[in-house]
Amino acid sequence: MKLTLKNVRLVRRTEITRQTSVLISVMGVVMAFAVAGVLFLLLGVNPIAAYGAMVDSFTNPILLANSIQRGTPLLFAALGLIVVFRLNFWNVGAEGQIVMGGIAATGIVTLHLVSGAIPDLLVLPSMFLAAFLLGALYALLPALLKAKLQVNEILSTLMLNYIAILFGNYLVFGPWLDPAAHGFPNSRIFPPEAVIPSIPFIGGSSGFIVGIVVSVVVYFIMNRTTFGFELRVTGDSSKASKYAGMSYTRIVSIAMIISGGLAGLGGLVLVSGIIGRMKEDFSSGYGYTAIIVAWLAGLNPLVAVVAAFLFGGLLVSGTTLQVRLGLSSSTTNIFEALILVFVLASEFLKKYRVIVGGVE
């Protein structure tokens, strides 16, 4: 049979079984790894060794703890993104909201260390509160701009990311510079009362457990509350929601407060649970990776837990590949991107059936 463009047809699927859907997704991921494997072979890297380094992220106890650690900020930010994405509001600003959360947390710690005004026991709770509030506040601006003036949220949140990052850099280079850091752009090291404790036995930030609880809460909000209903209706059709008398401004504001607040908590986990202080450009892409996590989880908060954990592992395997095989740590980016491209393609295959040949 001759394969020409003419005898390839696309037919919209009217229904799809769960099995087919899962099968297509799995095949997408397998394809991504296969393509990456071929690329490695061509460039003289043993693909098995590369895959091995990735598997180790989840089987080696120390690396596993690291995977949980690095998956935690991703989880928080992704959960928030899921809420606004369901509304069809494209918040690309998780990166900036993470930075703002980190700044708020570091601000509390710096205040605590310099003035001693906050009792030890209250340090972590006030950090949580401050990180959530500043992240939420920072996310509220693009929400209001969109609701009142129809300002494109993708572009506005993108710009706010840079402003947040530069503001953070200003703080660690200037007023919050650790006097003991010999001029390196770092904040003061967080004291033990400001550090999120690790999970007993397994290791990794116990923030991940909080994240799992939050994911259940987000799931509940989205599927079992009036607000969740309004969110879904408005996301599907802003006209319908308007006719039903729902206020877009109110819905988008609440959604972005949740989204920015949770990203802010991600920033808190990053400075308090992973780095232990604030540094120049400390998020370096977690906010963007969280978009991918939210998307791959199909905007399902419970699936996001798994996706965030897996991507935390991918980040860790970047370091492993660098140490063991001397590859660039950005090699895992290739995996991330290929998985993403193939999953995007498989989304299409879930909607359409490709028929080769057959009757006209």
Partner: protein, 307 residues
């Protein structure tokens, strides 16, 4: 001032391409990735061929190839353009980081191997104008090319049938389709132009001003270029003006000492273009300006006939 023009031109090339992509309704957040691949491929090709033209072409082709991935995913597969664009950025950064260490030239990795940067050519008379002359008219060929490109791209976009088609596709693809314009073809073309120019811009980084490749040397310029597109409100000519402003700010850390501004931290100065972009973005949302300067109405929205 010279550094402002250098940095500005890098941003300008990438932004011009993105202006076209967005005018046709395709938001490509992959500029940074295409730039990174362009930067690496330019220097690699130059090391192997010692020919600037082939090297520059190679960079453009690789940028183009990456943009086609985005095009297929967001035009034919009708997927989410933000996610796809992010994938392109990650893919480009990953590929360039990986390849830069894996490809060997005479036994050494590309990383850290210096090349001869493209020479500046002074244009007689013009280059002897004080201050402005050396900055604008004593530059390498790619910079002069960018001047011509602005004029050509502006002319095509606003004074030709093709330009009208591109703008219609970005505003109202259904109408363009009913008028017999091939929406997909226009979008592929514009996304491709975006890729080509992002690759070129990458080539200018490595062959023009920073002739040693290091990982991550694009330093977020691709994202800045996307901001520049907004500041320029999707016009090639205004992109030219904005580029030197952004360029000047990008150059600030290098020229800070010579400027000797006291009391204002550089971070705040560097925030200015982004804050300004946000202000512009808000301003063009007001009624009077929206009609003329707003983003293309179908930006980021996939088009399919059946709906």
């Amino acid at each position: 001032m010279i550094v402002s023009v250098e940095e500005g031109t890098i941003l300008l090339l990438a932004a011009l391409g993105e202006v076209y992509a967005e005018r046709s309704g395709i938001l490509n957040l992959g500029v940074e990735g295409m730039m990174a691949v362009g930067a690496l491929m330019a220097i690699t090709t130059y090391l192997f061929t010692a020919n600037y033209i082939i090297a520059i072409l190679m960079a453009a082709i690789c940028g183009f190839a990456l943009s086609m991935v985005h095009a297929v995913v967001s035009i034919h597969l009708k997927s989410n353009q933000i996610v796809s664009g992010l994938a392109i950025t990650i893919l480009g950064l990953g590929l360039s980081g990986f390849l830069g260490r894996q490809i060997l030239f005479k036994g050494f990795s590309i990383a850290g191997t210096p090349v001869q940067a493209m020479k500046s050519v002074a244009i007689p008379l013009l280059s002897s104008i004080p201050i402005v002359g050396p900055a604008f008219f004593n530059q390498n060929a790619l910079v002069y090319f960018s001047y011509v490109l602005v004029a050509v791209l502006w002319f095509v976009l606003f004074r030709t049938r093709l330009g009208l088609n591109i703008r219609t596709v970005g505003e109202n693809p259904a109408m363009a389709d009913s008028l017999g314009v091939n929406v997909y073809a226009v979008r592929y073309l514009c996304t491709g132009i975006g890729g080509l120019l992002a690759g070129l811009s990458g080539a200018l980084i490595t062959l023009g001003y920073y002739p040693t490749w290091t990982e991550g040397m694009t330093l977020g310029r691709g994202w800045i270029a996307i901001g520049l597109v907004i500041l320029a409100t999707w016009s090639p000519f205004r992109a030219l003006l904005g580029a030197y402003l952004f360029g000047a700010v990008t150059a600030l850390p290098y020229t800070f000492q010579s400027l000797a501004i006291q009391g204002i931290p550089t971070d705040f100065l560097q925030m200015l273009p982004y804050a300004l972009t946000l202000v512009v973005l808000t301003a063009i949302s007001f009624r009077g300006l929206r009609k003329r300067l707003a983003p293309p109405a179908s930006l980021g929205v996939p088009y399919s006939r059946e709906e």
